[in-house]
């Protein structure tokens, strides 16, 4: 379903990803953890080509892309890949000049060329799914952080992506609002959505993940079932990082 091989990304002389291999089956949830600066966000952004990988290959559904000198995907390949992924941002990035439902409708109308009425209908369903019925006509600034992020999830779901990408979706939220967003994500996972989630919410990782990947300095340090990686990491470096996380959670 999703497969990346030997993925490299550098910014100028800074090597941020140094050969990452990952694969994810349909309907599974992959959680990525790791220290700050280890390349989690960069990896996620490489999956929808917001960052162009410097080397390696990426397969998603029937898109198969190769990167490296002289091997740049075409514009239409890039757009196709982006349409089959949905991204949820740490800072929501909702369109402030559009209401909640218009945020969700936008890509359906502009990218998928659906007619307004059916886009509106589908968007209302998606907003209901994330628990925001009645907020259709609110502008983002009229919503709480948790509500905004749920609109962000609905917006990303609107184009029926094959995989959803989450970059620390709850880390900009007040603690009391984290739960409502995680709940929606768990529900998506339970419905069989394929998801890649960068998060430091250990409880979510333990309960919802099929695979946990621990990144460090641009490489995958540990990879496995959540109980393996979180409880019995094989390297000292991983154990040390997890200890810090567990202490933080108290």
């Amino acid at each position: 379903m999703l497969e990346i091989r030997n993925l490299h990304k550098s910014f100028g002389t800074l090597d941020v990803l140094k050969g990452v291999d990952l694969s994810l089956e349909k309907g599974k949830v992959l959680v990525i953890i790791g220290p700050s600066g280890s390349g989690k966000t960069t990896l996620l952004r490489c999956l929808n080509l917001l960052e162009m990988p410097s080397e390696g290959s990426l397969k998603l559904g029937d898109s198969a892309l190769e990167f490296g000198t002289g091997r740049k995907p075409s514009k239409s390949q890039i757009l196709k890949l982006r349409q089959s992924t949905g991204m949820v941002f740490q800072s929501y990035n909702l369109f402030p000049h559009k209401t909640a439902i218009e945020n969700v409708m936008e890509a359906q109308i502009i990218v998928q060329k659906k007619d307004k009425a059916s886009a509106r209908k589908r968007s209302a369903e998606l907003l209901a799914k994330v628990g925001l019925s009645g907020k259709e006509d609110s502008y983002p600034h009229q919503l709480s952080g948790g509500q905004q992020q749920r609109v962000g999830i609905a917006r990303a779901l609107a184009t029926d992506p094959q995989v959803m990408l989450f970059d620390e979706p709850t880390s900009a939220l007040d603690p009391e609002l984290v739960g409502e967003v995680l709940k929606v994500m768990k529900q998506l996972a339970a419905e069989g959505m394929t998801m890649v989630v960068v998060t430091h919410e250990m409880k979510f990782a333990a309960e919802a993940a099929d695979t946990v990947v621990l990144m460090d300095d641009g490489v995958v340090l540990e990879q496995g079932r959540p109980d393996q990686v979180l409880r019995n990491p094989s390297s000292a470096r991983a154990a040390q990082f997890l200890n810090v996380l567990i202490e933080k959670e108290g």
């Binding site: 929808n48 982006r82 949905g86 941002f89 909702l94 936008e106």
Partner: protein
């Protein structure tokens, strides 16, 4: 004020308003609209650093901003015919003011686009929008809101600057007032009258600007 003066004021009002409707306002609207399109193109070419075009755009802005508008108008209307490029007065004025607006407003548009967070481009891209779609649907509407106050200012300046078109024989409002003043020997009276007409026009535009800013502020708390 004696009756003669009042009669002169009344008699001159209609020709001036007519010149305003026929030349001043169309000249302003056409030049501003064309200038805005030009400004957006120039801003994008420079923001996206499109090779060659962005250098040309840079030089264009540099020249227009660094030379007097009056001189630009003279070059277009009196200068170009000597190399075989001839325009009627009104089109020459439209070209001059459009080029002027395009240069000044491109800086406004560029700053407005740059003020929109990169996260907006990324959100649009992540949904599969092309750069053009993101620009049109997501970025420009937000940039428009930011740039309404400075663009309104340049619009109001343009209204007043169109009076310079008299120098290239466009029969706009100020030109008419000049002619009336010459035949009535009442320069103070007539020039004050035309000043009041410009004042009314700019005041109306200011009010429109306020309405527009309120409407655009609707989607944002700040």
């Amino acid at each position: 004020m004696d009756e003669r003066k009042i009669q002169i004021l009344i008699d001159s009002l209609l020709p001036m308003i007519k010149a305003g409707l026929q030349f001043t306002i169309p000249l302003t609207l056409i030049s501003f609209a064309l200038g805005l399109v030009l400004a957006i193109l120039v801003a994008l070419v420079r923001l996206w650093k499109i090779p060659v075009l962005s250098q040309i755009a840079g030089i264009y802005v540099w020249i227009i901003r660094g030379t007097p508008l009056l001189v630009q108008l003279f070059i277009i209307f009196y200068g170009l015919p000597s190399i075989g490029i001839e325009f009627d007065p009104f089109p020459a004025a439209v070209i001059g003011f459009t080029l002027n607006m395009g240069a000044y407003n491109s800086e406004i548009v560029r700053a407005a686009i740059q003020s929109i967070s990169n996260g907006q481009w990324e959100a649009a891209s992540s949904l599969g929008m092309t750069r053009g779609q993101a620009l049109r649907r997501i970025i420009l509407p937000q940039a428009a809101r930011v740039s309404v106050p400075p663009l309104s200012n340049s619009f109001i300046s343009l209204v007043k600057d169109t009076s310079l078109a008299y120098t290239i024989t466009v029969i706009e409002m100020f030109q008419v007032s000049k002619q009336i003043s010459a035949t009535t020997y009442e320069p103070l009276l007539i020039y004050c009258e035309v000043a009041v007409l410009y004042l009314v026009l700019c005041t109306v535009l200011n009010a429109l600007q306020n309405v527009m800013e309120k409407r655009l502020a609707r989607f944002s708390a700040s």
